[in-house]
Symmetry: C2
Subunit: 119 residues, 2 copies
């Protein structure tokens, strides 16, 4: 992750991008550009996915068997690679979701400890 | 961040370590080893900080003026470098906390969208 303090949008934390891509495809197959747009819109423009991060992530997810890709035609009538979630990808999404919730809770315990734990 | 799926403890996401270090020092000055221990204990053993990540982070935070370090004597009666938060570090902690909350909310909008936003 690179910090861009001047840019109000947040760079995606490394390790959460895969989860967001898998989640986005739960709503149906999409092409790469559509996945990036879905993440941006759904997060109310807070998260942006750089092309340079998105395409390597898609490639990695296909290689692991979590996504399948096939050529199709986009809404702009252009040839594009569409990605869809595989059953293994759905199982992976559940694991990533658990991991993320666990991380958020663990960090929460440090950032907002129970009053008794504070000095 | 490296993934260690066999290890139940979570590797710290890049970018959150600085925030956790600053937060830990809000409870008072500590030496490096004590900071790592505080993060581990406070997160109920879920977060571990590798020495190879912690010391570069401390060095970076001192360089940016967010921490000051000074030599002292540890509870084990050993000479150790103690770190404390500077006023600039306190301000930075607030910024990092805001950023983290914003990120968690943005990811939450994708992972758990309002029912109407789902297909």
């Amino acid at each position: 992750m690179t910090r861009t303090p001047d840019d109000p949008r947040l760079e995606l934390l490394q390790g959460t991008l895969d989860m967001l891509v898998l989640r986005t495809l739960q709503w149906g197959p999409r092409h790469g550009h559509g996945i990036g747009q879905a993440i941006r819109r759904q997060s109310e423009e807070l998260l942006k996915v750089e092309t340079g991060s998105l395409y390597p992530a898609l490639h990695r997810l296909v290689k692991r068997g979590w996504l399948k890709s096939e050529w199709g035609v986009s809404e702009a009538n252009q040839r594009a690679k569409f990605y869809r979630l595989t059953p293994a990808g759905r199982a992976q999404l559940i694991r990533e979701q658990d991991r993320w919730s666990q991380l958020v809770r663990a960090i929460g315990r440090i950032m907002n400890p129970a009053p008794a734990a504070e000095e």
